[in-house]
Structure formats: structure tokens, C-alpha cells
Symmetry: C2
Subunit: 246 residues, 2 copies
DNA sequence: CGGTGATTTGACAATATTCAAATTCGGTGG
DNA sequence: CCACCGAATTTGAATATTGTCAAATCACCG
């Protein structure tokens, strides 16, 4: 009998945010064999060009996928939080076309592709759910294309913060409209396709508008409706199952 | 016995570009029930907010997925060509978070979700292949984030043209480094997050550099190596099975 | 406290946008 | 076959947004 892994709690919470799980499915997820690991801040978890035979579940921390252009500029492609399998696509695209890096120290749990495949064979609905998860991933990429391509800097930043709040709330990491945002303005700049200087100015403006406030590394949303309006934010693209309090 | 549908040739060619198909799989694809339809230029095929129960195979033409921002600006998210199932994601994300529109008159073949599900049940490898296809879709979105977020306009346009050439060549729509590009500069602008005026200037520069030439609506790549270099183009992210002549 | 990294500020430059008008292209009808 | 029409492309000038560089201040951690 395999052990029950407490690290899967985050994963189960995440999957429950996008679909319903049966007790059998939950139990099967809890029995997934895991290889635990911690990585320091600014370390690559998987690098562009690598051939993957396992997927990386973020148990705790804050990670991102990114690419470096020929000109040496970094573009962050997505942020990943507790419960995310950040490189689920490696199941069918074994060579990495981007890197996965830790933005702060992270607790990780690696799952062998073979174990995932066995799980999906035994529980086809979980297979569909994992597929759905990668499709939501893609929906987020699409919104980022819109954000970076067509929204001015202030709107862009508001939108990104809205997305983070909703995603973090889905896995119960938001309390009273406040959450940990343990990244630098330079990281945010690389996510939004802006310079760090400009992010700083836009961040100040969001604060002057009374929409947000920083208390150290925790971000408090002071005016959720205002932030959503400023960010033109519509959470449909996150395809959450529980649509409460959006 | 179901009929064999010639419209599936494009789909089969496309799928063969990203994986190998067995004769049985090919035969099963050819028997897929199709609803044929044609749409005029600038018509929506599926609109944001719609609930989908079928997927749209592009048999011929040129389509795009797009979003309109609150400020009324359009961001094109992807271009779709012969052989693409442009909204395969609707299989697991039934409400559309973006629209699918025809850029020129298109021949379409709609496939019911139920028929696709039956096909995948009978041929699990095809299920994996469709999943893989949506993952490549996501990989393209990621590259577009990089393109729009971190590459200057000239590089951005070169990269987009490289991508189109490689994708079109994979379905045998490129002859002698030339292909049909039946879209306006305004369409390209909306794909790259630029203004139409700037696209015009950048297009002129690519021509002055001797990298490309237009003959009406057909684009001829005069210097493929140069265009790849200018566009910082690495086709890995397209995850093609046949890597010849990249 | 001291030092390192993050944030903030200011001045200036570069890139891209907007607006408006001119030109070219492609198709259509006389 | 040519004239004409609307759409697409091209051009120019002025403007806006964002980037770059450099320095100053702030904040956290040992």
C-alpha cells in the first residue's frame, strides 16, 4: 500500500477549484508517488532544452516559466503557486521550450510521467481534468498576449494583480483581499513586458488611486471593484468551477 | 458504414506533422462525421461567450482567434490554417473566452464533441495526439507573449513570418519559400500588438533588407537564414515531428 | 550597524502611436 | 479595355508612451 502524501493537499485544492473530484479520485491523487525537493530562490527547476520524464508540483513558494530572448531580455510566461503542476505539458511535449524557475525558495514534489499515465488510465476523468488544466493554462497565456499586446501599462498591471488574486483565492491563499506577492518589481516587469522603472511608476499610481497598498511583501487590494475595472478584468478565462465572490 | 470525407485530408496532414499515424487511425479520422460550412471574410465562426458542442476544422482559408479589449482594440491570439482544429480547447472549456473569426472566406468542417470523444475512446493514441496538439497551441501562445512582450517591432515581425512559413510548410502550403498571406497589415498589427502604420514601416524595412518580398498577397522569403536570424527564430516550440529543412 | 538588494527619482532618448492626407492596388461595371 | 470606386498601403508630422541610465533613498537581514 502506498503512503498518503500530505503534499498532494495543495494539488487537490487546485483541481477542486476547476472541477469536482470524487472520493476515489482524491484518494488516488493522494497515493501518487512523489519525489520531494526544495530549491533556492532564482534557481532553475527545469531548463529550456531539457528532456523531462517527470512533472513538477509546486507545494509551496512562487515559481515562473520564462524565456530569454537573443537580446538577453527575460519574458516571464506565467506565475505558479501552490497546487500548480507547472510543467504538465511535458507529458506530451518532452523537450522543454522554456525554463521553469523558482522566484523564492520553493517546496516541490516531482511526479513521474509514468505514474501520471497510470493514474489517468485508472481514472479517465482525472485524465480529462489534467487536460482541462493545461487548457486553462493556455487560456491564461492568451490573456497575457492581450495584456502585453494591447493594454496600457496601468491596465496591464491591474489585470495581472486581479488574476493573481483570483488564482490565489481559489487555493485559499487570500485573506481579506490581501495576499503574499514575494516578487520584485523587476519580476513583474518581465511578466508584463515593461521596464522595472515603469512598473515602479505604475505601481505608485495604483496606490495613489487607492486601489492597492503594500505592507512589505503582502499586497492588499483596497478597492476590488476599482481594480477590476481598471484592469478590464473578467475572470471567465480562468474557467473556475466555484464562481463565488468574483 | 460512414463515408470517407476528403475534408479530413488537411487534418491528417496536420496531425502527421506533429506525430506518426497508423493506417487504422488515419481511417478512423477519415470517417469522422462532418458538418460542412463556408463563411465569408470578417465573419465570426464562434464568438466569445458562446457555449460550444462542436469543434471547427479549417479546411481552407485563413482564420484567427482574437479578443477585443474594453478600449475597443483587437488582439489576435493566433492564426489558423488548413488542417487546424482552431477551437479544440472547447472540448474541455465549453464557454469560449475569445472569438474565432475568418480573415478571408473559409471552408470549414464542424465535428461534434461527442464524435471526437468516441474517436478518442476507440483510439487512445489519437486522444493523446489531440492533447498534444492543444499543448503545441499553448507553446505558440507562449512564444507570442515573448514576441509581443520583449521583442522590438522588426524582430517581432520577422519572428511571426518565420512561424507562419514553418507551419504552412508543415502542411505543404509553401512552395519555394513563398506562401499566401491573405491578410492586411492591420491584421498583422493586431497580431503583433503594433499599429498598422508601424507594421507598414517595419514591413518596408524587411523588404529593404532583402529578407522578404511581396507579390500581391503572396509572400516570398528571399533570405531564410537572414529572416530567422532577424526574428531570433528557433522552431523547437512548434514541436514538429519532421524536422527537415528548418 | 553595515551592507546588499530593492525601490524610487529625475533627465533624457528611443520606440511606437495618432491623425490626416496622398498614393497605390484590385476589382467591377460601362 | 478603361474609368472608377473602395480598400489597403504609404507618407509625413506631431505626440505619447515607455525605456535607459544614473544616482539617491529605503528596507531588510545578519
Amino acid at each position: 500500500m502506498e503512503a498518503i502524501h500530505p503534499q498532494t493537499i495543495a494539488l487537490i485544492r487546485k483541481l477542486e477549484s476547476i472541477a469536482h473530484l470524487t472520493p476515489e479520485e482524491t484518494a488516488a491523487l493522494q497515493r501518487l508517488p512523489l519525489h520531494l525537493k526544495t530549491v533556492a530562490a532564482d534557481q532553475d527547476i527545469v531548463s529550456e532544452g531539457d528532456t523531462a520524464s517527470e512533472c513538477c508540483l509546486i507545494v509551496a513558494g512562487f515559481a515562473c516559466r520564462y524565456n530569454i530572448t537573443a537580446a538577453g531580455k527575460r519574458q516571464i510566461l506565467s506565475f505558479h503557486i501552490s497546487g500548480d503542476i507547472a510543467d504538465l505539458q511535458s507529458l506530451h511535449l518532452t523537450v522543454m521550450d522554456h525554463s521553469l524557475g523558482a522566484l523564492i525558495p520553493c517546496k516541490l514534489a516531482f511526479i513521474q510521467h509514468d505514474d501520471l499515465r497510470a493514474l489517468m488510465r485508472a481514472h479517465p476523468r482525472l485524465g480529462d481534468l489534467f487536460w482541462r488544466d493545461t487548457l486553462i493554462d493556455a487560456a491564461v497565456f492568451r490573456q497575457w498576449v492581450v495584456n502585453v499586446g494591447r493594454r496600457p501599462a496601468l491596465t496591464r498591471m491591474a489585470h495581472l494583480l486581479c488574476e493573481l488574486l483570483v488564482r490565489l483565492r481559489a487555493v485559499e491563499l487570500v485573506e481579506d483581499h490581501a495576499f503574499d506577492l514575494p516578487v520584485t518589481q523587476a519580476d513583474l516587469a518581465d511578466a508584463m513586458g515593461l521596464s522595472n522603472v515603469h512598473v515602479n511608476r505604475v505601481s505608485q499610481e495604483l496606490r495613489k488611486l487607492g486601489l492597492i497598498a503594500f505592507q512589505g511583501k503582502t499586497l492588499r487590494v483596497l478597492d476590488w471593484e476599482g481594480l477590476k475595472t481598471t484592469g478590464e478584468f473578467d475572470p471567465t478565462y480562468l474557467h473556475l468551477a466555484k464562481k463565488d465572490a468574483l
